[in-house]
C-alpha cells in the first residue's frame, strides 16, 4: 500500500501564485504596450464601475429636457442658412412663423442663419441623450452593470460547467455518456438564439439575461473540465489516493479540482470579453437590462435612432466603452493564456 508521503510526491506540483505572477510579468515585458494598455483600461473601467455612484457627475437616469441632445463639450454649434418661406418643407427652408421668433423683421424670401445644433457644454463632457441625461454619468454607471453581468454570468456558467464536467470526467460510464449527450445538444445550436429563447421565456430583465447567458455558457466548461479530469483520473497520484482509501468526493475536491482550476480560470478570462459583447447584444435587442437603467447595449439601441440625424455621440461613446472593455479583456486573456501555457505563446493573437 502506498503511504501518504509517497503519494504526495506523485502529485503534480501546483504552480504557486508567485510563479504565476512572474510569468504574467514576463508576458507584460514581452508585449509591453498591449498588455499595459489592457491593464490600464481594465483598472479604469473596474475603478469607475466600483466608484460609479461617487464619481459620476449626475444621476444617470434623470435629466432635464432643456438639456436634451447636447453634443460633447468640444463640439461647436452648427448653423445653416435657410430660406424663409410660408411653410417650411425641405431642410433648407424655414417657415416664417419660426423665423419671426428668431428675428422679428424677416420677410418671405429672406435667407437667415439658423442654429440647427447647439454647442457642447463643459458641464456635459460627452454630451446628453434625448432625455437630457448626461452621457458620461450613464457610461460610468454602465461599466458597473456590464462588469456585474459578465462576472456573474461566467461565475454561474463556470460553476455549473465545472461541477458537471468533474462528474462526467471522474465517474465516466453512463454518467459521462448522459452528460456529454446533453452538452452536445446545448452546443448544437447558436448560443445567442438559445439565450434569446430563454430570456424571452423568463421575461426580459437584468437577472434573466444573466441566467440566459450562463445557461448557454456552461457546456463549454463542462467539455474542458471533463477532458482534464479524464486524463487526471488515470494518473498515478489519483490511483494512489484510491489505494489508501480516500473517498471519491475528497479526491475530486482535493486532487482533481485544484488541477482543473487553472484551465478553467484561463478560459474564463478569455471569455469575459465575449460575455460582455453577448450581454450588450441582448440588451441591444431589448432582452437584457431595461431602460432607464444605464446599460451600454440599451444606450446604443437608443442612440442608433439619432445617428441618421447626425447625433452620433449617443451611440458612439457607449459602443466605444463596450469595445474598449472587450478589447482589454481579450488582450488580458491572451496574456493569461500565454502565462499558463508557454506553448501558445505568440502562436496567434
Amino acid at each position: 500500500m502506498t503511504s501518504t508521503a509517497e503519494y504526495a510526491v506523485l502529485a503534480p506540483r501546483r504552480v504557486s501564485a508567485s510563479v504565476w505572477a512572474a510569468r504574467l510579468l514576463r508576458g507584460f515585458r514581452r508585449r509591453n504596450i498591449l498588455l499595459g494598455f489592457s491593464v490600464f483600461i481594465l483598472l479604469l473601467i473596474t475603478g469607475t464601475g466600483i466608484l460609479a455612484p461617487w464619481i459620476s457627475p449626475y444621476d444617470p437616469t434623470r435629466g432635464k429636457l432643456e438639456n436634451q441632445k447636447l453634443p460633447p463639450a468640444w463640439i461647436g454649434e452648427r448653423t445653416a442658412t435657410k430660406t424663409v418661406v410660408e411653410f417650411g418643407q425641405s431642410p433648407d427652408q424655414i417657415s416664417i412663423s419660426k423665423a419671426k421668433r428668431l428675428k422679428s423683421d424677416v420677410v418671405l424670401g429672406d435667407r437667415i442663419e439658423v442654429v440647427i445644433r447647439g454647442s457642447g457644454r463643459t458641464e456635459f463632457l460627452l454630451g446628453t441623450d434625448h432625455l437630457g441625461r448626461d452621457m458620461l454619468s450613464r457610461i460610468i454607471h454602465g461599466a458597473r452593470i456590464s462588469l456585474i453581468i459578465a462576472s456573474v454570468t461566467l461565475g454561474v456558467g463556470g460553476l455549473i460547467g465545472t461541477t458537471v464536467g468533474l462528474a462526467a470526467g471522474y465517474f465516466g460510464g453512463w454518467v459521462d455518456e448522459v452528460i456529454m449527450r446533453v452538452t452536445d445538444v446545448f452546443l448544437a445550436f447558436p448560443p445567442l438564439l438559445l439565450a434569446i429563447a430563454i430570456a424571452s421565456a423568463l421575461g426580459p430583465n437584468f437577472f434573466n439575461a444573466i441566467l440566459a447567458i450562463a445557461l448557454t455558457w456552461w457546456p463549454w466548461y463542462t467539455r474542458l473540465v471533463r477532458a482534464q479530469s479524464l486524463s487526471l483520473r488515470e494518473r498515478a497520484f489519483i490511483e494512489a489516493a484510491h489505494g489508501i482509501g480516500v473517498n471519491d468526493l475528497t479526491i475530486i475536491r482535493r486532487h482533481i479540482l485544484p488541477n482543473v482550476l487553472t484551465p478553467v480560470l484561463v478560459q474564463a478570462t478569455l471569455d469575459i470579453g465575449t460575455a460582455i459583447l453577448t450581454a450588450a447584444g441582448l440588451s441591444f435587442i431589448g432582452l437584457g437590462t431595461q431602460p432607464p437603467t444605464a446599460d451600454w447595449g440599451v444606450m446604443i439601441n437608443i442612440g442608433r435612432l439619432f445617428v441618421l440625424g447626425g447625433r452620433w455621440w449617443i451611440a458612439t461613446f457607449s459602443g466605444l466603452a463596450i469595445f474598449l472593455t472587450a478589447l482589454a479583456f481579450n488582450l488580458l486573456g491572451d496574456g493569461v493564456r500565454d502565462a499558463a501555457d508557454p506553448r501558445t505563446r505568440g502562436a496567434d493573437l
Partner: protein
C-alpha cells in the same frame, strides 16, 4: 461512418426537441393569450369557446404534442400583431436574409482567407500586423455598434451608400460587412494558425529541401491542408450568420427574418417569435449537419474515427 452520421442525427433531433420545448414553455409563461385575443365585452361562453379552440383545456403534455404536430408541418399559428400566418411571413422574408447571409459569407471568405495566408507567409510583416488587428477587432467590436458607426461615416456623413433598406447592390455593402465582420476575423485567425502549423511541418521542409518553388509550397502543399480547420468551422460560421442577422438587420432596417425577430421581440409577438426561433434552429442544425457529413466524407480521419 454510418455510426457517425446516426449519432449526429440523434443529437440533431434532440436539439430540435429541446428548442421546441423551450419555445413551448416560452409561449405558455409569457401570458394568457385569451386576454389578448378577447376584448372587454367577451362573455364567459366566448372565453370557454376560445379555451377549447386553443386546446388550453387539455393537459400540458397533450398541448405540447399538439404543438409538435403542428410544428412538424411548420404551422406556428397566426401572428398576434398582423394576424397573418407566421410561416407565410417568414418564408416571404427568407430571400432577403439568405441574400444578406450569402453576401456576408462571401465577404468573410474574400477578406479573411487571403489575409490569413498573407499574414502566415509573411510573418511580422505589415500584413501580419494588419491580420492581428483584424483578428482582435473581430473579437472585440460589438457588431451592432460597428454597423451604426459604418452607417454614420459612409451613409450619413459621406453619403456613399444608402443608410438603410434593401435596394440596389450598394445597399448590401454595410450590412454585409457588419454581419460578416466576426466571421472574417475568425476565418483569418483559423487560416493563419493552421497555415503556420502546416508551413512548419516535415513535408514542407522536405519540399523546400527538394527545391520546390515557394509559391507551389504555399498554394499547393500548405494551403490544401490548412484549409480544413476553417471548413470545419463553417458550421459555427453559419450559426453566427443566422443569429447575427437579428442585429445586422435591425441596424440597417433590412427586411429579412432578423428584423422580423427584432420587431416580434419588441411587440411581444410570441407566435411569430416561436416560429422564427424554430425556423432559425432548423436552418442552423440542418446546415451544420450537412457540413459535418460533408466534412466526414472529405477527411478520412473523421470517417474512420
Amino acid at each position: 461512418m454510418q455510426k457517425f452520421i446516426a449519432r449526429r442525427m440523434v443529437v440533431t433531433v434532440f436539439t430540435i426537441l429541446l428548442v421546441s420545448l423551450i419555445v413551448f414553455v416560452m409561449v405558455r409563461v409569457s401570458g394568457d393569450p385569451r386576454t389578448l385575443l378577447l376584448d372587454d365585452y367577451a362573455s364567459i361562453e366566448d372565453y370557454d369557446e376560445l379555451t377549447a379552440n386553443l386546446g388550453l383545456d387539455k393537459p400540458l403534455f397533450t398541448q405540447y404534442a399538439i404543438f409538435l404536430r403542428h410544428a412538424l408541418v411548420l404551422d406556428f399559428g397566426d401572428s398576434v400583431v398582423d394576424e397573418q400566418p407566421v410561416t407565410a411571413t417568414i418564408l416571404q422574408r427568407l430571400p432577403a436574409t439568405l441574400q444578406l447571409g450569402l453576401a456576408a459569407f462571401i465577404f468573410s471568405l474574400v477578406i479573411g482567407i487571403p489575409l490569413g495566408i498573407l499574414s502566415s507567409v509573411k510573418r511580422d510583416s505589415v500584413w501580419d500586423h494588419v491580420g492581428k488587428v483584424v483578428a482582435l477587432l473581430g473579437q472585440s467590436l460589438p457588431p451592432f455598434w460597428l454597423g451604426i458607426m459604418l452607417m454614420f461615416f459612409f451613409a450619413v456623413t459621406l453619403d456613399w451608400v444608402p443608410p438603410s433598406g434593401r435596394f440596389e447592390w450598394n445597399s448590401f455593402i454595410l450590412p454585409a460587412i457588419t454581419l460578416g465582420w466576426f466571421t472574417t476575423a475568425a476565418n483569418m485567425r483559423l487560416v493563419r494558425s493552421s497555415m503556420l502549423t502546416a508551413l512548419d511541418s516535415e513535408y514542407i521542409k522536405l519540399a523546400r529541401a527538394k527545391g520546390v518553388s515557394e509559391s507551389v509550397i504555399v498554394w499547393k502543399h500548405a494551403l490544401k491542408n490548412a484549409i480544413i480547420p476553417p471548413l470545419t468551422f463553417m458550421g459555427v460560421t453559419l450559426g453566427t450568420l443566422v443569429t447575427g442577422s437579428i442585429v445586422a438587420e435591425a441596424v440597417f432596417a433590412w427586411p429579412g427574418i432578423g428584423l422580423l425577430a427584432f420587431d416580434a421581440l419588441r411587440q411581444s409577438d410570441y407566435a411569430m417569435l416561436q416560429g422564427i426561433i424554430i425556423f432559425f434552429t432548423l436552418m442552423y442544425v440542418g446546415t451544420s449537419l450537412a457540413v459535418d457529413i460533408l466534412y466526414a466524407y472529405l477527411d478520412p480521419r473523421i470517417r474512420f474515427a
